[in-house]
Subunit: 467 residues, 4 copies
């Protein structure tokens, strides 16, 4: 399974090597977006930047680029994009613009659900758009706020935004970091000596020694960092109902992140334990689909007592390979990335643990590989409930037509993917393993209960919603 995400953020205020730190920090967050990377930095009223398609190491393959943009305040962004347009350099963040308050840079993780309505309204009022990214909307609103201080401007802009957003901004020597009132996406703050850092996941801080005061930026909180350190402002009152994305814990986040109150790896191990209790099966070995099922497979093995083994070998060197002529080219590509080990599975009853099933096609090919390698039985165990509803808050799910769980029962899905049995972790089981009550999480992709308006709510009639 491969899902797209709307990015990772990393920022540093107050270190002469801020740009180099962002360069490294983004590499730790590379799993959040591999299509493009950018860094903007500032000092003395000038913003410098570089952004390009590809991995961080590809976008910044020339050390001279880092040197050219060397400044003590910097923000960076890794991007996932869904369309061919993703390689358009103008669609790589941070976004840059100049307004009455001077130059500004912005990096965005999330998805605004009222972006189309805002854009229509702005265009009607004479705004010129230069990219197709919804993040540009934020800059136009800020420019039109009439405020010269960014804090005041944002206080007027942010109530206009619906949906999921974590933002990092550079403006007039400040680094601004903020998180939407429902807190869909994670955002963390830390101190290192006199420098301050922000990151989508706290794992990125631990590249360096001397990290202190790590804390989550709260939903509805805006942190403004200047030379005196951070100042915390609230642009929205604390809410009882928040909506932390549980898919971050299930799938996206690094296992070594301590996300939303708990370590991701241990949480996933707990998913595996619970999954083994909910869906036991007699078998000879337990194996993960690497790397997505790695943590949960440990829990399943321990709980069930069935030995853990490695049924698949992953080839980490395979990058953007192209499909060559020949009818089997697609199959070749799949096998190149993940190969079954005949000697491990031949004649065996195999429990395969993965984190989710989206379309079902990847699971099918994995199970087919096990069968061809001689597995006697294949029992698929998934460490989350069936994903039946699209995400409008920053994860690039396919349409419901393509979501297999939206169209098939569990039994039908098992047949489709070729498993002897299939077990999903229950919603209750899932929530039991994470920190906080159910209404502090967004589980919309499982239960369809969206915690905020979705794009469809803004499409009634041709006119944009009243401001």
């Amino acid at each position: 399974m491969k899902l797209g995400h709307e990015c990772g953020l990393f920022g540093v205020h107050g270190d002469p090597e801020a740009v180099a730190m962002v360069y490294h920090g983004l590499q730790v967050l590379q799993h959040r977006g591999q299509e493009g990377a950018g860094i903007a930095s500032t000092w003395g009223g000038v913003i410098r930047h570089h952004a390009a398609p590809g991995l961080v190491t590809q976008a910044f393959s020339d050390p001279a680029v880092l040197e050219r943009i060397r400044n003590p305040i910097a923000i960076g962004h890794v991007r996932y994009a869904t369309t061919g347009g993703s390689l358009d350099p103008t669609n790589v963040q941070p976004l840059l613009a100049r307004f009455a308050g001077g130059p500004v840079a912005l990096a965005h993780n999330g998805d605004l659900t009222n972006k189309a309505a805002l854009r229509a309204e702005l265009e009607a009022a004479g705004a010129l758009f230069q990219s197709t990214m919804d993040s540009e909307t934020v800059l136009h609103l800020l420019a039109r706020s009439g405020e010269t201080e960014v804090e005041q401007g944002l206080r007027r802009v942010l109530p206009r935004l619906e949906g999921a957003y974590c933002l990092l901004m550079l403006v007039s020597g400040k680094l601004v970091a903020l998180r939407d009132p429902l807190g869909f996406r994670p955002l963390y703050l830390a101190r290192r000596g006199r420098a301050w850092m922000v990151a989508s996941e706290d794992a990125a801080f631990h590249l360096w020694d001397g990290i202190e005061d790590v804390r989550e930026i709260e939903p509805g909180e805006m942190v403004v960092i200047d030379e005196r350190g951070p100042t915390s402002l609230r642009f929205a009152a604390p809410r009882a109902r928040i909506a932390r994305c549980i898919f971050e814990t299930i799938y996206f986040a690094r296992p070594d992140s301590h996300l939303f109150g708990r370590n991701v790896h241990l949480t996933r191990v707990a998913f595996g334990h619970r999954l083994a209790r909910e869906h036991p099966v007699p078998a000879d070995i337990v194996s993960a689909v690497p790397d997505s099922g790695n943590s949960a497979s440990i829990g399943y093995s321990r709980e069930s007592g069935i030995p853990l083994d490695r049924a698949f070998i992953k080839n980490h060197y395979v990058g953007r390979t192209f499909i060559t002529p020949g009818q089997e080219a697609r199959q070749v590509k799949v096998r190149m990335k993940l190969a079954a080990v005949r000697e491990v599975v031949e004649g065996k009853r195999v429990v395969v643990v993965d984190d989710s099933i989206i379309r079902g096609t990847t699971s099918s090919s994995r199970i087919a590989a096990l069968r061809q390698a001689g597995a006697r039985e294949v029992h698929l165990r998934i460490s989350c409930p069936p994903t039946r509803h699209p995400c409008f808050f920053g994860i690039d799910f396919p349409t419901p037509d393509e979501l297999i769980a939206a169209n098939m029962s569990v039994e039908e899905t098992a047949r489709f993917v070729g498993a002897d049995t299939l077990g999903y972790l229950s919603e209750e089981g899932l929530v039991a393993c994470v920190e906080g009550a159910r209404d502090t999480w967004c589980l919309a992709c499982f239960d369809g209960d969206y915690p905020a308006p979705t794009p469809g709510d803004f499409l009634s009639g041709d006119s944009p919603p009243p401001a």
Copy 2:
């Protein structure tokens, strides 16, 4: 001498190969700008574009790019830029943006003298700028005009603009071409079958057979080309005083262009005849500084009866060569581009004809080369008057401090460049050779009489001028 110019324009409406035609047409106009090239094309509401630094053949080195943007309506732009920023891809035209009336592309030749004031006003009103080009101002004004039809929008925008501008625009299937009311820069229209073409110089049309109806677009005229052909509108009343840039004829334009009513080569030959009458001198040979003095040297030779020869050899292969270590590196670079032929000049009295003297340093090195090659006397003849005043209408002159004629008498200049005698063409002589009365030309670089407000006129106080 090497002066910068703010570009060349070429557009085609109604030919399936419009993009390829623009690609070729821009190459004919390459002398008007070598720093960057771009093409935008449109069909069915979508605009495609490509722009990159370098010559046309460098910016479009991949045929697949032309194929990707293939459309029957296209405009293109070659750019000269004055700063290191010229290599910033975001500063290459045509500019693209999206406003309420849909996507728009714009290419600009000229210079707006009130650009700073307009920009300040727009930023105060919440406009986001993405480039440092004054041309972006036009798009912001158009977006804020509140008009959905481009003709109506431009009628409101253009009166706000001061200075020199020829514009090509693509918007909603139309190609719009217009020229400022004073007509500083040239712009031509032609028909080829059912297709229509516009170009900064008519020489570009003659790549193709079957060109008809070639005419100048008038000062203050806007030509809107759609599928029914061109419609001519006036956005400013005809004026008796217009201001055609005489430096186009003296220096910039191709010799085979028929500019402002007369062939450029023949006009320059006429300058040479007149120059020989105004500044005769006994000599053995007449030689041009190639290629800038080529045409005028023919006139001087014919009028004076002194034989024409080639005292210099130009190396057309030398492009962007870098200066290597060593004290003589700069001299080496000059000699590499232009070498004197000892056997031609040794012991001779040489009349050297060039089109202008700007800083005087190039003339110095040319004359020094002739002396080292043994010339007995060197008489420099310039086919225009002394250039004493900067240009604010599209030519990148140095500051008055650097203009030698603004700081030295003719005799001092002759001594500075090392000439035995120096003669400039008189203003009267110049005007006598071109078409139309003196008040139809801009001669501000010679006489300081600017035909329109200059940037200094907009700098009184912090507030922008009243709209």
Copy 3:
């Protein structure tokens, strides 16, 4: 630990998509060399080729390149190189040359121990060398053999070679594959329909369905494949003493390869079992150093009953990152590639399983990371004996000065790397887990008993050894 290897080979004879197959096959063998990749193909007396630095997908990033060299017979090579010269395109294989027998391409895995002597002899006889690769020596000897048939030529050349070599060659429509008489490096043959394939590891065959007749090419065997299929020739008599590199099984080969008679993953699991019996220790968890210790950690955990967990998270996205300024840059780089998970190890007694210790520096930083993450005890277990002697047969070991086991006792090494205890698998234990008697393996890096002359044996005196 990161050791260099002298490459991977893949070849196909008799499939119209042979080049595409080699492209994919080399990706499966990418772990054997990441510095450069090349493919040569042939048909009708012409050899086409492409080779470039980088991964296979980087060296062949343009599909047009594969199309340009499309031919039904092809060989390919992935290369590891030890020096900065590795990026020199002239040092990428396959090597190409033209001799009396026509064009020839050659790819080489291994290391000739008498290469310096051969080169000196050839230069003295007027040979011109164009690369610094020892493989070029083979071509010169072939050209000078006076034979027009490659089989006859090789029969005269191969006895001159000392050391380790697997060779693939294209010459006059044939694909020749051969392995040195001691069989240091692996080489496999397979059939797919009418096509024949050769590969350094059999795992590469299994990208495709319908693979049959997989077998090892024997030490001293030359397989010549033409349109009638393969012909097996012996260029050296079978020997009782052969010298299969046991480090291929310990470290280099893919876990899903079936190398030297046994599956690599299962063999490594067996190493782990044995290691647990030889070096038991009370502990809370067992963890691999990913990915090198993955298989052995499973065996250790099963044998000891200590639960398996994941103490480290590997970042697979980090490629060639450069070191940025700042004193901690190197530590940042190490942590970016592998991070300890605090919640897994804090307060725990941890058994860490890895496959080898070379310099000890990597183990040190791994153990330091565990300590910083709060591990109470760290017990390092290595699934091979101490590596005390350099390899001259194709693995790029550091010099003895740098091999920690050549300079320290086990106790000293444990202190150096910061482990509470350190246990190496014994030589007896190692040999007990693999197929065949001890004298069919090269264990020189452990016991110093080299099965063939080493470079030092050819340096006595200035004259080359008698031919």
Copy 4:
């Protein structure tokens, strides 16, 4: 007309900036080859080099490259190549190799007529060839000479070579420059302080001040430059019959070179005078085809009294432009490079002067352009005799089938190219304008009298000629 030439050479011994000097010197010689450029330099037994396709400024676009190869002894080469293979980096000179005498670099201008025979002989003796350039043959012969001193080795090698060759070599701290016994191609020596320079044309020396002791290297002379300065050796006795290529004077050489005893520009002016006497015609203007006819047109105009004008404008910016779709694309490309000026030629009788006619197609399109621009009569005058025979000594003529003068009479040619009259300079006229007797020149392309064996002379039978 565009003919290919086998290159230009430039070398410097004894200046710390030798590499930079070669970089600049090659740019002066760029007209001799535009397909590739390379420089090799040496100091202390090591040779450094860089070579790449394109112009000198493209091949050396990175100043760091010049810095990397900075050494006080250097040679360089600009290359023209006839096939698509020209972009193969392995076919760019200087060639590098290592033989028993150490590293050697070689640059070659000319063409060996017995190259195929030599190559066959060497391959039969076991030589490995790595390029397709005949120059590699020289290195193989040198390596096999058994001599350790390059002077001795070359004395044995050079008598084996037939045809045209100027060679520059770097070996063991020496720069060797030599010219074949018939002296087909030019080669010059000069001193500047303690440094010595060699160049294909003396014009390249005049980038610098202080040039002294300029002289031609004699046919059959080898100049060996070491730290004590140059030593002149003869490897072949002086001959009465030498064979200086008269096409160098007619077409290739720079007008400011003083080649084979006389300035090239003045010689071409003399050709024009003579041509006017041999082929007078009543006309209104004389015009060159720029730049090839520039010098001769001056002579024609002066002798005939018909005024000189510029009927064509050349676009120096058009480089490698590609042909876009559409039937007229080729015509567009021709016009883009050279445009006729209507106002100059309309209704006029025009004498057009060019230096040669090869295929006739270029002349046709030039004359067609004049007709379309309204010329009443077009009289073509060519400053050399009809070229009827191919060149085997370094100029890349088309085959006789394509040489129009080999297949048509003068009258037929005039009709083919569309001229009212056509006049060629006679052989007598040509020889009368140059220095030295007719038998000191090669006029084989005009009279078919080849002064040395041609490749056909070495093709009798399958066996190579006796050594």
